[in-house]
């Protein structure tokens, strides 16, 4: 199993402003029509990007100023909606290595961690300041340090948060946790054998 430790993410930022950005916007369902995750990066925010282009705007994902960004900066309840892992898969395959946001939906957060994608939370004012900083100076190097749990960009320096288990999984490289689940399989069998619905009236 993987032991690739994730202790920091450094790079430029991609600001995605807005609350409640759902998984249907991140990865529209018609792009789930495949038996692999290959190529999902092409469809990341597909509808939003087309919509922006029609309105004569440029979606941040298509904005050359943010090309090659490693850190996405989002607002509250990012990734709400469906359980589709295609959403974080598309984000990772596009080149994003970390997300800083006000808050995340639970399933999206879990999926992200399982891909080794840290999704850290920060105070709304800090997130807004970072988004403004990136807009103002897209070349600003951002450093997300999971050891000190701080983010740094230009003159900004603020604390970020991760639940302890996710933090531990990422920094120890145990974010792909299947090995752990298979470690004590006798105990799994014992637990199953004690369940009334499998033991007494199956």
């Amino acid at each position: 199993m993987s032991v690739s430790r994730i202790v920091s993410v450094a790079g430029r930022g991609l600001p995605l402003v807005g609350d409640d950005i759902d998984t249907d916007r991140i990865m529209p369902a018609r792009h789930l029509r495949a038996i692999t995750f290959d190529g999902l990066e092409q469809h990341l925010f597909g509808d939003d990007r087309a919509h922006a282009a029609r309105d004569g705007r440029i979606h941040p994902v298509d904005d050359p100023r943010f090309a090659g960004a490693s850190l996405m900066v989002v607002n509250s309840n990012f990734g709400c909606g469906s359980s589709r892992e295609h959403a974080p898969q598309g984000i990772v395959r596009w080149g994003i290595r970390g997300i800083i946001g006000e808050s995340f939906s639970e399933i999206f957060f879990g999926n992200a961690v399982m891909l080794g994608l840290p999704a850290v939370t920060a105070a709304p004012a800090d997130v807004a300041a970072l988004q403004a900083q990136i807009e103002h100076e897209p070349q600003t190097p951002i450093d997300l340090d999971l050891t000190t749990m701080r983010a740094h960009a230009g003159s900004l320096d603020f604390p970020v948060h991760l639940p302890p288990a996710a933090h531990d999984a990422l920094v120890t490289g145990r974010w792909d946790g299947l090995g752990l689940l298979l470690q004590d399989f006798d105990q799994v069998r014992k637990t199953a054998a004690a369940l009334p619905y499998l033991r007494d009236f199956a």
Binding site: G18, D19, D20, D22, D24, R25, P28, A29, R30, L32, R33, A34, I35, T36, F37, D47, D48, A50, H51, S76, N77, C80, G81, S82, S83, R84, E85, H86, P88, S103, S105, E106, I107, G110, N111, M114, L115, P163, P164, A165, D168, A169, R174, D176, G177, L178, L180, L181, L182, D184, F185, V188, T191, A192, L195, P196, Y197, L198, D200, F201
Partner: protein, 472 residues
């Protein structure tokens, strides 16, 4: 003095992991064609096989056509996904209720229908509406594909125990008001992210009086309020529903099961993390006006002015109004609809179809409306046909389809086109959700969809049906 959450969590705890999370055994794993192919591929890469294949059940619902059962399907991508699931299930001896099977249907409809879903279980599926199964007093939640891989390989997940919020539905549902309306009203009250980190325990007079179909609708929408799981404590209504179902215990085992199920309900004095009350007496039929399920109004209430909303909701509300083509202060009533969709894991069970049929019986769908009825399962379809509901719908001008997810998420050919407005009994009004990037979804109950189909615009179902009429 534990809660149902405490009891089931404890019982399924394998061990505490070094990360601080809990290794939880999954009693029932439901799989479908869209979120599993990569999971099986990852399993194969690692040389693993499903650990408990007899606790896994498969069906097809998301991408399958609902217009025909012919194989190969007209859509080659659907055919490839169907075939992949068939091969994976065959290879690993997993029961599969495939296209054309008598038990095929939306995964959250067939689990309860066959009695696979039972109180006291932990239930996982690669679909966020797995919360539906909580109606039976189970801990049921959606997972991503890497977690599907984990459950296949180990029948376990690494999880943090959620906090518990009790949501008490006090009062009684008036005529024309349904469990769908209660759920949407709750989400508006508590927020689309209000439930993050919580399991919702639904109690109160209104929930006690609900049928299992209604409880499933309520629990189904837990995730739209941010709660990954929601449940109702099991009671006689639960047991009556399960008795005689093919996978439910029978004979002497039935009595043992009921005794155990009864013991699972939260103890009256159990400690909980939060509690709130939803006043059911004040709830009218609900319609969404925006692009998340919390952006809704009672059908007789004007759409709020974003300026009057809390600061954090204003920008999103403005954007949503623009996307939907609504004005602040406007009424949702009178909004022209192009498509009427009765279906989805939220509202495509027999009682939903009956409620819709009661509204359309003897009526015609408006000339400009495309009406679609997509039963939740083959069993629902057959039962509805035995009652003649299909002829009610067809005579009114609705299309009567084969079971599947269909227009809820537009993965097959059932999609909105352009900026069509759809009155929909489904669960999400996200932008692009119904297959057209500019399509607009108005969520409402099945009876409200039926009334909108007939009128060609959003109307108050209470003015369409006689007071005390058949709509529950």
């Amino acid at each position: 003095m534990p809660t149902l959450l405490d009891k089931i969590w404890e019982l399924h705890t394998v061990r505490r992991l070094p990360t601080g999370q809990t290794q939880i055994f999954i009693g029932l794993h439901l799989i479908h064609e869209v979120t599993t192919p990569q999971a099986f591929a990852m399993l194969r890469e690692r040389g693993l096989r499903p650990a408990f294949p007899d606790r896994i059940f498969g069906t097809m619902d998301h991408i399958i056509p609902t217009s025909s059962l012919r194989r190969p399907t007209a859509d080659p991508v659907a055919e490839a996904m169907i075939t992949t699931l068939e091969e994976n299930c065959r290879e690993h001896h997993i029961p599969l209720y495939g296209l054309g099977d008598a038990h095929q249907g939306i995964v959250h409809v067939i689990g309860p229908e066959m009695g696979l879903t039972q109180p006291g279980m932990t239930i996982a599926c690669g679909d966020s509406h797995t919360s539906t199964h909580g109606a039976f007093g189970a801990l049921a939640f959606g997972i991503g594909t890497s977690q599907v891989r984990d459950v296949l390989a180990s029948q376990c997940l690494a999880m943090d125990k959620p906090k518990l919020r009790r949501v008490r539905f006090e009062g009684r549902m008036g005529p024309g008001v349904t469990a769908k309306d209660l759920a949407l009203a709750m989400i508006r009250q508590l927020g689309v992210n209000g439930g993050v980190g919580f399991a919702y325990e639904y109690t109160g007079e209104a929930v006690a009086g609900m049928t299992m179909d209604e409880r499933m609708t309520l629990c189904n929408l837990s995730i739209e309020g941010g709660a990954r799981m929601g449940y109702v404590n099991p009671d006689d209504t639960t047991f009556a529903f399960l008795r005689g179902r093919s996978h439910a215990p029978s004979g002497e085992a039935w009595d043992r099961a009921v005794a155990w199920w009864r013991s699972l309900a939260s103890d009256p004095g159990a400690a909980i993390d939060d509690e709130c009350v939803v006043d059911v007496n004040r709830i009218a039929p609900v319609v969404t006006w925006g692009t998340n399920p919390g952006q809704s109004v009672a059908v007789d209430e004007p759409i709020p002015d974003p300026v009057a909303l809390p600061p954090g909701e204003r920008d999103a509300a403005l954007e949503a109004l623009q996307f939907m083509g609504f004005e602040a202060g406007e009424s949702v009533q009178g909004r022209r609809v192009d498509v009427a969709f009765i279906g989805s894991c939220t509202n495509a069970r027999l009682s939903d179809l009956r409620a819709a049929a009661d509204v359309v019986r003897g009526q015609r769908v408006a000339r400009h409306v495309r009406g679609l009825v997509v039963p939740g399962s083959r069993e629902v379809q057959r039962a509805a046909e035995r009652e003649g509901l299909h002829t009610v719908f067809e005579a009114a001008g609705f299309e009567w389809r084969e079971p599947g997810c269909s227009l809820c998420l537009g993965m097959n050919d059932d999609r909105l086109s352009g900026a069509e407005t759809c009155a929909s009994s489904s669960n999400r009004n996200f932008r692009g959700r119904q297959g057209s990037p500019t399509g607009r979804t108005l969520l409402m109950s099945p009876a409200m969809v039926a009334a909108a189909a007939v009128a060609g615009k959003v109307v108050d179902v209470r003015r369409v049906i006689p007071r005390g009429g058949a709509v529950q």
